[in-house]
């Protein structure tokens, strides 16, 4: 096991002394990440019409976090994505008795820019933050505001966090008139969240979180040939996170679980576990596995029925079907005192049989993807 440098340990401890104490982060952090995401093509036999190419997305992220004066800090997040690929418009029964996809033609679809600004005020053992965020793409615009606070208690061994947010989204589908889509719709989302982080002993910490969100407005997918969803959705989720450090192995175990439930009849389980293995003082390797499983929405149908009245809720969107998915990933991090660099690779596969409550038919649009990310962090 790599011994910690005594000089660093004492310097960190000295920072708590009144002469040096500063309640907010004393360093400025700059982080950048570049990611490339590629979905695998739909098997030819599952496509009735349109392109078999799925999404390819390139993402660039930038973050700046800096102290301002003695009690404030400011955070800026910017993300820029370019996407290309086809998306499923509908699902119908093929001649062979299996569901088939009608895909859009492949086009250079979209660019998305997201910017968020967070201002935080730091007190003795509490901090309050206000966040403003906005996201823009050709056909979609979202604006959100949120306020949150954290309170440290029990000699800083416990932390209570509370937050609420409000967001307003506008969608103006491209080619609306040509394809008979809705021209302009809105959606409002409001949510409340509460969390509790508890240090159990010097090597472990646990976190419990509860979130409740209400969506109101246009919740359907305007690009689908036939998609009618309720104009309201109430959802809640419970999450648990556990972190434990093993002295002898110089490694840490992460265990995360999340349970989700909404009034569209969907419930899901997400498990994520990772092993953070240190090698010496500078290298960390993190193999990790994520398992996800959801059941189908009440109004989900395996194939579209264009004869059904449009006043009845209906959707053949694979994202509302019952299925499960695994992600296998590994991340490699090299750290120095003032910077670190990381590389991560993830592979995701999904199938109805992986789920806890699979739909009757396997949806042909269930996909696999590969993702690679490269990141750099600077501290000064």
């Amino acid at each position: 096991m790599a011994k910690p440098n005594p000089f660093l340990a004492l310097s960190t401890a000295a920072m708590a002394l009144p002469a040096f104490a500063a309640p907010q982060p004393v360093e400025t952090i700059v982080a950048i990440k570049a990611t490339t995401y590629q979905e695998e093509d739909v098997p030819q036999r599952d496509v009735l019409a349109g392109s078999d190419e799925r999404y390819k997305i390139d993402i660039a992220q930038f973050r700046l976090l800096t102290p301002v004066g003695e009690k404030w800090s400011l955070g800026v997040d910017v993300a820029y994505e370019t996407m290309s690929g086809a998306s499923p418009w509908g699902t119908i029964m093929g001649a062979d008795g299996e569901a088939s996809l009608i895909m859009s033609g492949a086009t250079i679809r979209d660019k998305r820019t997201e910017v968020s600004l967070t201002a935080t005020h730091h007190g003795e053992s509490r901090s309050i933050s206000v966040d403003l965020a906005s996201s823009d793409e050709d056909d979609y615009e979202a604006r959100a505001v949120s306020i949150s606070g954290e309170w440290e208690m029990n000699n800083k061994l416990s932390t209570l966090s509370l937050g609420m947010s409000y967001s307003s989204d506008d969608i103006e589908p491209t080619d609306a008139l040509r394809f008979g889509r809705v021209q302009r719709e809105e959606k409002i989302s409001r949510s409340l969240s509460a969390g509790w982080a508890q240090v159990l002993n010097k090597n472990s910490v646990v976190h419990v979180g509860l979130d409740v969100t209400d969506h109101d407005g246009y919740l359907s997918d305007p690009y689908k040939l036939r998609d009618v969803r309720p104009d309201e959705k109430l959802e809640w989720a419970l999450s648990l996170k556990y972190r434990r450090y093993f002295d002898n192995q110089n490694a840490a175990l992460h265990l995360d679980y999340r349970y989700y439930n909404d009034d569209w009849g969907i419930n899901s389980h997400t498990f994520h576990t990772g092993w953070h293995q240190n090698f010496g003082d500078n290298v960390r390797v993190v193999p990790n596995v994520r398992y996800y499983s959801q059941n189908e929405a009440d109004f989900y149908r395996g194939t579209d029925d264009f004869g059904l009245a449009t006043t009845i809720n209906q959707s053949s969107d694979f994202r509302l079907s019952g299925y499960g998915a695994y992600t296998l990933g590994v991340k490699l991090i090299y750290s120095a005192l003032q910077w670190d660099v990381s590389l991560s690779i993830d592979r995701y596969i999904s199938d109805k049989s992986y789920g806890h409550d699979a739909s009757d038919q396997s949806h042909p649009a269930l996909l696999s993807f590969n993702m690679t990310s490269f990141g750099l962090n600077f501290r000064f």
């Binding site: 996201s135 966090s161 967001s167 969390g195 010097k202 976190h207 959802e235 989700y260 909404d262 959801q294």
Partner: protein, 71 residues
């Protein structure tokens, strides 16, 4: 089934709280290590974006952020 699950999770939480020890400030070095944090940098928003766009059970992370056009 749902009620049983939530109840058992709450019991786990309460039990772990009961198992808490006092950790003196000079013993907190391990908890401050990067591999012991609850979230890591830009990974959170990235993975949220990736999974929210293909799963029905998005969000619920407590983190604010404007949505994307993936109804």
């Amino acid at each position: 089934m749902k009620v049983k699950l939530v109840t058992s999770l709450c019991v786990v939480c309460l039990l772990s709280l009961a198992a808490c020890e006092t950790v003196q400030p000079w013993e907190r070095g391990t908890l401050a290590k990067p591999e012991m944090q609850l979230s890591e940098g830009l990974d959170s928003p990235l993975y949220h974006q990736v999974y929210d766009s293909k799963e029905a059970s998005s969000g619920g992370s407590g983190a604010a952020g404007a949505g994307c056009g993936c109804n």
